[in-house]
Structures are given as structure tokens and as C-alpha cells.
């Protein structure tokens, strides 16, 4: 396997990634904005009301992409952390650190929008359905990760410790999801409580897919900006910085 891992190891070079992140950001940011705006128009204006949930289903357009981000970001965070731990790449650790805040935020958004969706649907703000419960546990996992990072002063140690935590978390997440669904199915609430996604004609589905795309691109853009900050934090007084910041 001695072929071209050079490209991989170039990703370990902070100045290279710093520059690359700066170049790529607008290529994610503008498509993200367009995608989200188009999805907003499609979801709020063009899509017809759901026959069961009326206009209320439109909350899905912010709830589902937020939930998707919260889970996807954790996976990205854990992957970056794992790469940082195994290949000792500061840049990978910087990437993991860049993900945490965004992931936690959108976990909160998915919880709040989930609650706001639940209230008109089932008359109560909170239900212990498997998806909301799993999102709540995910939020705790994010908070633990962020708390651990902030509790350790040395950046390198914080990187490695939180990497172990992220990997342990990612292994646990499927187990937690399974146990929460199992728990929920045993104490079966009346099926009225189930969070039904409306069956989707094209006019409803396309804005949703656009939102998913837009959110994902948005995450990439914001994460790249944060990544640049995190790289600078980790490169004490490296010589490339002065040139790069000119």
C-alpha cells in the first residue's frame, strides 16, 4: 500500500488545509444559501398543505434537516477525531473541534422544533417517543464532549481525550437508539403519539431534499471557517502563519 497516500498526508499539513478551507468556503456557502432559500419558497409557498396535518407539517422542513445535521455532524466529528487519534493529525483534531458547537446547536433546534410540532399534533410539548428521546441523549453526548474539551487546558490533551470520548460515543449511539426504541415499544403509548411523517408527493418532497442539501452545504461552509480558527489556535508560532495571514 505504498502508493499515493501523499494526498492523504497533505491533509495533515496545517498550512495546506488552512488555505484550502479558505478557498472552498464560498463554494459551499453560496450554494447553501441558494438551496435553503429555494427550499423555503418551495416548502412554505409551493407545497400543498398535508391532508392530515394541514399547514402544520411545514415544520418538517426545518425539523428533519436539523435532526439530520445533528446526527451527521456527530459522525463527522467522531471520524475526524478517530483520524486525529490514529494518525496523530492536529488538523483532524481541529476538524473535530470545529464540529461540536454546530452539532449541539442543531440538536437543540431539532428538539425545539420537534416539541413545537408535537404540541399541535398531540396536545403536549414533550413526548418520550424514541426519536425525541434519542435526540435528547445525543444533546447530552455533545454537551459532555464540549464539557470535556473545556475542562482540559492543554489543547493537545483536550484533543486526544475528547477523541476517545467521541469514539466511545459513536459506538454507543446505535446501542442507545436500539435501547430507546425497545423501551418505547414495551411501554407502548397510544399510536396517536407516533410522529408520522406525511406521505410525500413531489411538491412536498423536493423542497425537503433541497433543505437537506442546503443544510449540509451550510454545515460544510461554517465548519471550514471554524476549522481555520482551530488550526491557528494549534499552530503556536509556526512560520507559515505570517505569510498566510497577509
Amino acid at each position: 500500500m505504498g502508493t499515493n497516500w501523499a494526498w492523504f498526508h497533505r491533509f495533515g499539513s496545517p498550512p495546506h488545509v488552512y488555505r484550502l478551507a479558505g478557498l472552498l468556503t464560498p463554494w459551499f456557502a453560496w450554494p447553501a444559501a441558494l438551496s435553503i432559500l429555494a427550499a423555503l419558497y418551495g416548502g412554505l409557498v409551493l407545497a400543498p398543505p398535508d391532508y392530515q396535518q394541514g399547514e402544520g407539517f411545514r415544520i418538517l422542513y426545518v425539523h428533519a434537516p436539523s435532526a439530520w445535521l445533528s446526527v451527521m455532524i456527530y459522525a463527522v466529528m467522531a471520524t475526524a477525531a478517530g483520524i486525529g487519534l490514529i494518525w496523530r493529525m492536529k488538523v483532524a483534531h481541529a476538524a473535530a473541534a470545529s464540529c461540536a458547537g454546530i452539532g449541539a446547536w442543531f440538536t437543540v433546534v431539532s428538539l425545539v422544533t420537534g416539541m413545537l410540532w408535537g404540541k399541535p399534533m398531540w396536545g403536549t410539548y414533550w413526548v418520550w417517543d424514541p426519536r425525541l428521546t434519542a435526540q435528547l441523549v445525543l444533546l447530552f453526548l455533545y454537551l459532555g464532549y464540549i464539557g470535556l474539551r473545556s475542562g482540559i487546558d492543554d489543547v493537545g490533551r483536550a484533543d486526544r481525550a475528547s477523541a476517545v470520548l467521541a469514539l466511545v460515543g459513536v459506538v454507543n449511539i446505535p446501542i442507545i437508539r436500539y435501547s430507546v426504541e425497545w423501551w418505547n415499544s414495551i411501554h407502548q403509548a397510544p399510536s396517536v403519539m407516533k410522529m408520522e411523517k406525511p406521505s410525500m408527493p413531489m411538491e412536498m418532497l423536493v423542497p425537503l431534499l433541497l433543505m437537506f442539501l442546503g443544510f449540509t452545504l451550510y454545515f460544510a461552509a461554517v465548519m471550514l471557517v471554524r476549522l481555520r480558527a482551530e488550526i491557528l489556535r494549534r499552530e503556536r508560532s509556526a512560520s507559515w502563519i505570517r505569510e498566510a495571514l497577509r
Partner: protein, 230 residues
């Protein structure tokens, strides 16, 4: 005394266990406090809710499990802390023995001194919550497996929070979400035992968590301790 050989491994583990026992005997308060905590917390629930045993029996699984969880977390704070500050942990790292193995020995000792007593206490505390003693075997089986997994899971957090200020609170915040499956399966097994149904299915699930924890947690704990000692 040879280090790094197979025979040396068993010897090292025995030494670790003996050391933990001696320390516990010298500081019995540290061992007894989590147990007292378990009892006190359990006693709070009737006072905070109702004296009616029938109603208490309905919440008993949750109360017992949360109490055991919190008591275990209290004890986990001390799993590595003192050894880290007096240099013993560093000796383990440098000893040439597998750190994973030594930490596993420490964690087993911890469970024997905390999880096992909590398990044995539980049926009696359950009586205070209206749980019939006929359920004792099921309750203890579930808690034995659950506290075992908890000690293993908690060793990871304990390693990660070494040297963190107010690490105890952070340790709880890190460990509790990871402990959700243990809580869910364990409380269910306890509930089934209380009403007289067979808890076998839930116990199998608990058992698989215990095995998974046994295989993976010590590795993560060793990695965490290495990082924490830097």
C-alpha cells in the same frame, strides 16, 4: 518477580486486587459512603411522593436503578484519582504489564467493592418500596449485570476526567448518557421480576452489554488514562 510474562500478568492482577482491598480496608468510609447514598436516595422517594406501597412498587424499578447509578458514579470518582495523584497509575503505565489488563483488575476490584454491595442491598431497599422479596433474585441479577457494565463504562469517563477541575460532575455528565441502555434494560428486567414475569429476555440484553463492556471498555479506559497522565 517477572514482569511482562503471562504468569506475571496474573500475578500483577492479584497485586492490584490486593492493593485495592487493603486501601478499602484502610478507608472504609470511602467504600461505605456510596452505599449509604443509595439508601438515603431511595428513602427520599416515598417522602417526596407517597407512603402507599402499591404506588411505590410501580416506580421502584426506576428509583432503585437511578439510585444505584448515582451511587456508582460517586464511587467512580475515586477509581483513578488517588492513584493518579500518588503516582501509582504512572507505575502501572511504566510497569511493562498491559495497562488495559491492570485497569481491568482495578475496575473489577471497584465493582466488588461498590457494585456488588449495591446489588446485595437492593432487595432490602426494594422492600421499602413495596417490592416483594420473591423478586429478589431477579432484582439482584439485573443489578449485578448493570453495575458491572456501569463500572466498566465509568472507568472510561474516570480516565478521561483525570486532572479536570470538578471532574466529578463532568464524569456524571459523560457517563449517564452512555448508561442509558443499561438503565433501560435493567429497569425493565427489575420490573418484570417485581410483577412475577420472567426477566430473561431483558437479562440477556443486559448480559450482552456486560460482555461488550468487558471487551471494549478497558481498552478505552487505558487510552484515556494514558492521555490523562500526560
Amino acid at each position: 518477580m517477572s514482569m511482562g510474562t503471562a504468569a506475571g500478568s496474573w500475578q500483577a492482577a492479584r497485586i492490584v486486587l490486593q492493593r485495592e482491598w487493603l486501601l478499602a480496608v484502610r478507608r472504609p468510609a470511602q467504600v461505605l459512603q456510596p452505599l449509604a447514598f443509595f439508601a438515603v436516595v431511595t428513602a427520599m422517594f416515598p417522602l417526596g411522593y407517597t407512603p402507599e406501597l402499591a404506588k411505590l412498587r410501580a416506580i421502584a424499578p426506576g428509583v432503585l436503578w437511578v439510585g444505584a447509578l448515582l451511587a456508582s458514579l460517586l464511587a467512580l470518582e475515586h477509581l483513578f484519582r488517588e492513584d493518579a495523584s500518588d503516582g501509582t497509575l504512572e507505575q502501572y503505565v511504566l510497569s511493562g504489564q498491559s495497562l488495559t489488563w491492570l485497569l481491568l483488575a482495578k475496575t473489577i476490584a471497584h465493582w466488588l467493592l461498590t457494585g456488588l454491595p449495591l446489588t446485595l442491598m437492593a432487595p432490602w431497599l426494594g422492600v421499602a418500596l413495596g417490592v416483594p422479596l420473591t423478586a429478589a433474585i431477579g432484582v439482584m441479577g439485573a443489578l449485578a449485570l448493570g453495575t458491572w457494565t456501569l463500572s466498566l463504562l465509568g472507568s472510561i469517563g474516570a480516565g478521561l476526567t483525570l486532572g479536570v477541575r470538578r471532574g466529578g460532575v463532568l464524569l456524571s455528565l459523560l457517563t449517564l448518557p452512555l448508561a442509558v441502555p443499561v438503565l433501560v434494560f435493567g429497569a425493565r428486567a427489575t420490573e418484570l421480576a417485581i410483577v412475577g414475569d420472567s426477566p430473561t429476555g431483558a437479562l440477556y440484553l443486559l448480559g450482552s452489554l456486560a460482555v461488550l463492556g468487558l471487551t471494549l471498555a478497558p481498552l478505552a479506559a487505558a487510552a484515556a488514562v494514558r492521555i490523562g497522565l500526560e
